[in-house]
Each structure stands twice: as structure tokens, then as C-alpha cells.
Symmetry: C2
DNA sequence: TATTGTTATACTCTATAACTATA
DNA sequence: TATAGTTATAGAGTATAACAATA
């Protein structure tokens, strides 16, 4: 530790970095908060060998049996090509299957296996528990306001 | 458009995908809202040939003349190696300089040039204006609550 | 012609190990 | 020895173009 008094006009000063300008921006504030949430989620999912995207895809497939890859990509707000390897991984681990859609032979109907549904139950429970701890210092009213604000921002999506 | 009535138990159904399970999680909600904020920010900064990270670094250097790369990496919550190419880019564009610290020849004191400060002014003004539009449907009280919640979450950073 | 899933590709962000030069 | 900056590298996430099969 440097216990020496520093000359504050000197370039070698060690006092805290000011982020006052950036703290006025929601982009900066949200990014920093999201880093914490993401790190917690990543660590929680590691126990199930899942990542944010494989977890999200698994949950949506369990909750929406039979949906197509293009629907899933839309729901996850990612491009179709990026979904392919996610689905590949879940299928390789026998958590889901690609079923042919009889009425449209171009498409796949995605369905979870029993193993997939079981992993879903355990992972959702773990994430629920971890998020409760993460938000322990926020009351329900505040969380509601924050979630509603997120919805408003989502709807402000660029229409340029 | 498919105007045909679909059999809702059929795997080819086209009705909306349910994300009810995921919408209970702040990770999911925040990610979706952040995607919107990030896309808007990215589009705004493109006019100045800046990205989120080069913008953040430039602002922190202008506001904290003389800080070191390790301090900046800490402030930006990224690893030191990842900062190098960011600083390289800003320096190559003559927006900042790496000044040697006379008292510690291992370190650099980062300082913005006149061009850097001018770009800072224009970029900060543009981002401010864009964020105002993005948050137009949220009142100041709500924004305050959301920002405070972000601070609480930031402080909940994992101490495992 | 348009759509579904796919391949190939590229850029960005993030993380770790190991090096160099200094302290 | 420890630290500041660097290089090399790898894993994720994201985006676009173009293709084959099918509608």
C-alpha cells in the first residue's frame, strides 16, 4: 500500500479514478450491473455445463415444445446461424431432439428429452436461488419498477 | 402472413413463443434491455468511429489525465491485456498519448490530445442526446430508482 | 421467389499464461 | 520478488453473405 501523500496535480497520483461523466449514462451503468449478474449466472450454470445461451435455448424449448429454430432465434434475439451450434450442443448431449415437421420438410420441431426436462428443473431452481441472493438488498417494489423499466426500454427498440 | 387457423397442439403452430419462465429472471430481462441500449449506443458511436470500449476509455482519460493503464483497466473492469489494443487504437488516431511516468519507468501516464478532447465533447453530446430519446418514456423518478438498483447490484459482486 | 437450416467467415469482447523491463 | 505493460492465444457472442433443400 502507498501511504505517502500524493501530489494531486501529479500524473503519478493514485487516487480513485473518476467516472462521473459516464455514470450519467444508462449504457455504462447497465453494463456494469449486467457484468455482475452475468458473472453470477455463468458461475451458477457451470455446475450444469450450461452457458447463458444454451440455458436460454433449453428453457424456451421445454416451455414451447415443437418450436422451430427460426422462431427460437427470433425469441432469443440472435441470428439464425448463431443458433445452430447452440442446438447442436444441446442435441449432442441428448437434452433435446430435432424432429422433422411433417407439413414442412425444411423445418425442425425442437423438443426436450426427459434428460433435458430434468436438467431444466435443476438449472431453473439454481438460477432462481442465486438471483434471490443477488437481489437480496432490493425490495420487491423496487424490482418491479426495474423490470417494468426494462420492458419500456425493450419497446424503445430502434426503428431506424 | 399465415391467416389459417392453426391446431395449437400441433408442432407446426405459429403462435407466439412463451418466455414466461425466463421473464422472472433479472439476467434475462436485463440482457434484453441492454441489447437495445447497446445497439443504440453502437449506432451512435459509429459516427465518431468509436466503439463502446474506445469511447469509455477516451472519456475516462479525458476526465482523469495522467492515469495509468492498470488503473484504467481496473476502472473499466477489464483485464490489462485487453486494454492494450484499445489504447493502441486511440493513440494511433492521435486522440491520446502515452506519456512516460518519470518516477516509474514501467508505467505510462495517459493523456488526451486536443483532438481527443474535441471528439470527447462531440461524442458525449451525441450519446447524451440518444439516451434521452431512448429513456423518453421513463420519468426521472423511475430512472433514479433504476440507477440506484444498478448500484446495489454492482455492490453485490461475487466474493466467492 | 421466399423461407429453413446451414456453412463459412469476421469482428468484438473477454480471460489466462507467460514474457520484458523495470521497481 | 513484485508490478506495468505487452504478446499470444483461446473461448464466447454477434453479424452478414451465400448455399442446398423445400415451399
Amino acid at each position: 500500500m502507498n501511504t505517502e501523500k500524493q501530489n494531486l496535480t501529479n500524473s503519478t497520483e493514485t487516487h480513485a479514478v473518476s467516472d462521473a461523466t459516464l455514470r450519467a449514462f444508462i449504457g455504462y451503468r447497465m453494463k456494469r450491473a449486467f457484468n455482475v449478474v452475468r458473472d453470477d449466472l455463468t458461475a451458477t450454470l457451470r455446475a450444469f455445463d450450461l452457458r447463458m445461451l444454451t440455458y436460454t435455448a433449453l428453457v424456451l424449448i421445454v416451455d414451447n415444445p415443437g418450436l422451430r429454430q427460426s422462431q427460437l432465434a427470433d425469441a432469443m434475439d440472435i441470428e439464425r446461424p448463431n443458433l445452430v451450434i447452440i442446438i447442436d450442443e444441446l442435441e449432442r448431449r441428448d437434452l433435446i431432439i430435432r424432429d422433422r415437421v411433417p407439413t414442412d420438410r425444411r423445418a425442425y420441431a425442437l423438443k426436450a428429452t426427459l434428460a433435458g426436462r430434468q436438467l431444466y428443473e435443476r438449472a431453473v431452481a439454481a438460477v432462481t436461488s442465486h438471483e434471490e441472493k443477488l437481489l437480496a438488498n432490493l425490495d420487491q417494489g423496487t424490482i418491479k419498477i426495474v423490470f417494468d423499466a426494462f420492458s419500456v426500454i425493450e419497446q424503445a427498440k430502434r426503428r431506424t
